[in-house]
Amino acid sequence: GGMGGGGTTAQLSLATANRAAVECEYAVRGEIVQRAGELSAALQAGGPEAEALPFAKVVQCNIGNPQSLGQQPVTFFRQVLALCDWPGLADALGEGQRAFPADALARARELQRGIAGGTGAYSHSQGVAVCREAVARAVARRDGHACDPADLFLTDGASQGVHLCMRVMLRGQQDAVLTPIPQYPLYSACLRLYGGSLAPYYLDEGNGWALSVQELQRALEAARAQGQEVRALAVINPGNPTGQVLSEENQREVVKFCQREGLALLADEVYQDNVYAEGKRFCSFKKVVRDLQADDVPTFSFHSISKGFYGECGRRGGYMEMVNVSPEIKQLFYKLSSINLCSNLNGQICTALMMEPPREGDESFPLYAQERDAILASLKRRAKTLTAALRSMEGVTCNEPEGALYVFPQITLPEKACEAARAAGKAPDAFYCMRLLEATGVVVVPGSGFGQKEGTWHFRTTFLPSESDIGDVCPRLTHFHA
C-alpha cells in the first residue's frame, strides 16, 4: 500500500514488519525462559520477593548450554585459542615457561602459519584453508571416504549452515522440507523465515522414537497431495529433543528413500559425540551416502563445537559439508557466505581442534582424554538419574535418551488443566511448564515448542545441570507432579 507521507505512526511497527520474521518462533528462548530470567533476577536481588519464592535456585534445563551449568572446557582448546589470540604471548613467556604444554604451542604456531593475518583478519568465506583441511582429514578418518576441503563451509555454529541451506532451497511456500516431529525448532523457524513449508513426519514414540521409511513416505505423499514440492528431508541424528541414534540400516533406507524421491538430505549431526546407549554407534550420513554410491542425493551435513563434551556454545563454531551438489549451487553458497565475509576465526580454530584433538603420545593427550571421559561418563550418569526420576512420576512415560543432551518425557494432563490452559490462551504443556517453573524453579521447554503428536503433551529437559543440581531437581519435579 502507499505511504500517504507524514503521519504520526512510525513507518516500521510490529504490524508492518515482515510477516515471516514476526511469525517465526523459537521456544528454546521463549516466554518461559524470559520468566525464568525475571525469577533469577529476583532471587539475586534478595529481599522479601526472593524469600516468598518456593525455591532458592532457578535451574536451567531448557537449553543445551553445557558450560553455563558448570561443565568445564577442554583445556587444550582454550590453551591453543589463547596462544592464537595473542601471537606475542609465546615470545613473552620465553624459554622454560610452564603455562602451556609444548604441543599446544606447536599447534598454535602451525595454525598461525596457516592463517594469514591471524585471528583478526577476514578469512576465505568458506573458512581458513588450514582449518578446513583439518576438518577434512578428520571426516575422512571418521568415515573412510575422502572429504574435500572445497566442500566444507566453516560456520558460526551449525545453525548458520542450516539457515544457508534453507535460504538457497526455498523459492516459495510451495517448497517443503520433511521435518521430524518432534524437532529442534531451528527447522520450523527457518522454514517460516524463508517462506517455505514444513512437511511433518512423526518419530514413533512407542518404538524408541524410531524413524520409519513408511512414515516418511506417508508424509511425502501428504505434502504432495497438498500441491507442495518436497525439496529435502531433514534428519537430526542423534535426535533433538528425542535423543535416538539411528542404526546404519535405518540410515541406508533413508538415503535410498531420498534417492527414489529426488530429495536433498539435511543431516544435523551435532550430537555425534553424545552417544550413551549400549550397542549404539554414530554413523554419518555422508558415509552411508558414499557406501551406497548415492551420488544423486545432494547431502548437507552439519556439525558444531557446541555439544559433545567440549560444549563451546559461546564460540559459535561448526561446519557444513556438502556433497553431490552442482558447482553452480556451491558457487551460490559461496556468494551468500561472502556477504557476511566469513565466520569468526576463534570458532573456526575451535572446530579444527575439535576434529583433530590431541592424540595418543601427545603431551596433552592424558589430560584431554581424562576430561573427555569424565564429562561423557557424567553425562551418561545424569541421563540415567533424570530418566529414572521422570519414569517414577505418575502419568509420565519416558524413552531412554540414547544420545544428545535431553530427555523428552510424555506427560498426561488432566482435562481440567487443559481447560485452564486454553482459557489462558496457552498450550496445555506450556501452561504446565510455566506452573512447574513458578513452583520449583526448574526451567524446561514445553513439547509444543518442538512439535508432538496431536493430543499428546511433553516437555524437554536437559540433563546438563551438575550432578548435585540434578539430585535436587528430581525430587522437586516429583513433588510438583504429585
Partner: protein
C-alpha cells in the same frame, strides 16, 4: 534455487578477487607473471595486509579465552595489571563457553551504553543494544523486517557498500538509489533524495527506510552536522526509518572534520523528532582495531516501540547469541585503557601510530591517483578507501561490451593482470550512468603502498 539469490551480487569478493587467487596459484607454481606478488586493495581487511592488532585487545582476548593464564606465576610480567584485572572481571561474570543473552552479555552492553553516552552526551539503554557478529547481521535483520514484498523499498546511497543492495535483493524488495555528489566531495544531497523518493512513489514503490553510511564506503565522506539534521528531518517528513552505518567512526582523517553520530544529532533535535526510528551500527572490524576476524559489532536502536524491540530480540534468539570472543573484542573496543592504567602507554602509542599511518597512506595513494592521466579523485575524508573516477578509452569500452562485462570490471581485470593489484570495480558499488570508478583501500603497508602507486602509474601510461 531461490531466484533472488541468483541475481544478488557482492563484488568485494567477486570476479576480480577470484582471478587474483588464480594468479596466486600461478606464482606459487613458479610461473612468471608481470609482477611478483598480488597486492590486495579490494577489501577493508587491515590485519591481512600487515596492519598490526592492538596489543591490549589481544591480551584481553587471550586471558579471556584461557582464564587460568591470569594465575600463572609469571602472569604479571607478561600482562599489564589492568588487563589482568579487566579479564578477571569479565571471566567472573561471563562464561565465554556458554551461549549468552541473545543480545549479548549484559555486562558488555552496559559498557557499550556507557561508551555511547560519553561519546554523544545522551543516555543509552543496554536494552536497546544488540550485539552482533560484525555489523552485517544487524543490518540484514533490520532490512529483512522492513521488506514485506517487492514494492517495499530502502533508499541506498550510490555508491554504497554492497551489503545494502545484496540484502534488499535477497529479501525480495526494491532498491531506490540516491546519488552522492561527486563534484561536491561526495556530499549527501537532500534535493536528490527528495527527487529519488518522489520518482519511486510515482512508480508505486513504498519506501520504508533510508540508509546512510557515515563515514562513507566506498566514498569516505564525513557528514557535517547540518547534513545529518537534514537527513533526520527528511526521514521524519517522509515517515522513514533511518539506518546509520557508522563502522568507520574512528577513521576520520580530514583536517577540521568532526564526526557526529546520528543518535547525537537526533537527540539534539529534541522531542519533536522522537518518532524517528534510528538503527545505528558499529563494528570491531575497522577504526584502528581492524579486528575483522573476530566478527564483533553491535546495533543500537532508538525510538523503537517495545513490541518491535521484542521482535528483534526474538530474531536474535534464533541464532542463540553473537559469538563471545567477538563480544569480548567489542568490550575491549568500548572500554579501552585509561590514563594511569599500565597498558595505556602502549595502547595510546599503537592507536596514534595506526591512525597517523592510515592518514599518510591515504595521502600517498591519493596523490598517486590524482597524478594519473584521466583519473580524478576526491580527497580522503574518512574510512579506508579511495574511489577514483577513471576514463576508459572507447576501444576498451567496446572490448568490455564484447565480453559482456562492465567497462570498469574489464579495467580492473586488466589492472590486475598487469600489476597484481586487486581493486573492486565501481560497478560493484553503483555509480552515475556513464561514469567509471574503482575502489581501492589504502591498507597495505607503507612500502607496498609506494609499490602500488608506482605500478598504477606505470599501468596508466
Amino acid at each position: 534455487m531461490n531466484a533472488n539469490l541468483r541475481k544478488m551480487q557482492y563484488a568485494v569478493r567477486g570476479v576480480v578477487v577470484a582471478r587474483a587467487e588464480e594468479h596466486k596459484e600461478t606464482l606459487c607454481a613458479g610461473a612468471e607473471l608481470p609482477f611478483k606478488e598480488i597486492i590486495h586493495c579490494n577489501i577493508g581487511n587491515p590485519q591481512e595486509v600487515g596492519n598490526p592488532p592492538i596489543t591490549y585487545i589481544r591480551q584481553l582476548s587471550s586471558l579471556t579465552n584461557y582464564p587460568e593464564l591470569a594465575d600463572y606465576e609469571h602472569a604479571a610480567d607478561i600482562f599489564p595489571a589492568d588487563v589482568i584485572e579487566k579479564a578477571r572481571l569479565i571471566t567472573s561474570l561471563v562464561n565465554t563457553g556458554a551461549y549468552s543473552h541473545s543480545q549479548g552479555h549484559h555486562l558488555f552492553r552496559e559498557w557499550i551504553a556507557k561508551f555511547i553516552e560519553e561519546r554523544d552526551g545522551y543516555p543509552s539503554d543496554p536494552k536497546n543494544i544488540f550485539m552482533t557478529d560484525g555489523a552485517s547481521p544487524g543490518i540484514q535483520t533490520v532490512i529483512k523486517a522492513l521488506i514485506r514484498e517487492k514494492s517495499d523499498a530502502i533508499m541506498i546511497p550510490r555508491p554504497q557498500y554492497p551489503i545494502y543492495s545484496a540484502s534488499v535483493q535477497q529479501f525480495g524488495g526494491t532498491q531506490v538509489n540516491y546519488d552522492l555528489d561527486e563534484d561536491n566531495e561526495w556530499a549527501l544531497s537532500i534535493e536528490d533524495m527528495e527527487n529519488s523518493l518522489a520518482r519511486a512513489m510515482e512508480e508505486g514503490t513504498n519506501v520504508r527506510g533510508l540508509c546512510i553510511i557515515n563515514p562513507g564506503n566506498p566514498t569516505g565522506q564525513v557528514c557535517n552536522e547540518q547534513n545529518l539534521r537534514d537527513v533526520i528531518d527528511f526521514c521524519k517528513r517522509h515517515n522513514l526509518v533511518l539506518l546509520a552505518d557508522e563502522v568507520y567512526q574512528e577513521n576520520v582523517m580530514a583536517e577540521g572534520k568532526t564526526w557526529y553520530s546520528a543518535k547525537k544529532i537526533l537527540c539534539d533535535m529534541g522531542d519533536e523528532y522522537n518518532d524517528v526510528q534510528l538503527y545505528s551500527f558499529h563494528s570491531t572490524s575497522k577504526g584502528f582495531l581492524g579486528e575483522c576476524g573476530k566478527r564483533g559489532g553491535y546495533m543500537e536502536i532508538t525510538n523503537v516501540p517495545e513490541d518491535l524491540r521484542a521482535q528483534f530480540y526474538k530474531a536474535a534468539s534464533v541464532s542463540l547469541c553473537p559469538n563471545l570472543m567477538g563480544q569480548v573484542t567489542v568490550a575491549g573496543m568500548v572500554n579501552p585503557p585509561q590514563k594511569g592504567d599500565e597498558s595505556y602507554a602502549v595502547y595510546s602509542d599503537e592507536k596514534n601510530r595506526a591512525l597517523k599511518s592510515l592518514k599518510r597512506r591515504a595521502q600517498t595513494m591519493w596523490s598517486a591517483l590524482t597524478g594519473l592521466p584521466g583519473v580524478s579523485c576526491n580527497p580522503p575524508q574518512g574510512a579506508m578507501y579511495l574511489f577514483p573516477k577513471i576514463t576508459i578509452p572507447q576501444m576498451a569500452v567496446e572490448k568490455a561490451a564484447e565480453q559482456n562485462m562492465a567497462p570498469d570490471l574489464y579495467y580492473s581485470l586488466k589492472l590486475l593482470d598487469a600489476t597484481g593489484i586487486v581493486v573492486v570495480p565501481g560497478s560493484g558499488f553503483g555509480q552515475k550512468d556513464g561514469t567509471f570508478h574503482f575502489r581501492t583501500t589504502f591498507l597495505p603497508s607503507e612500502d607496498k603502498i609506494n609499490a602500488v602507486a608506482y605500478r598504477l602509474g606505470d599501468f596508466h601510461c
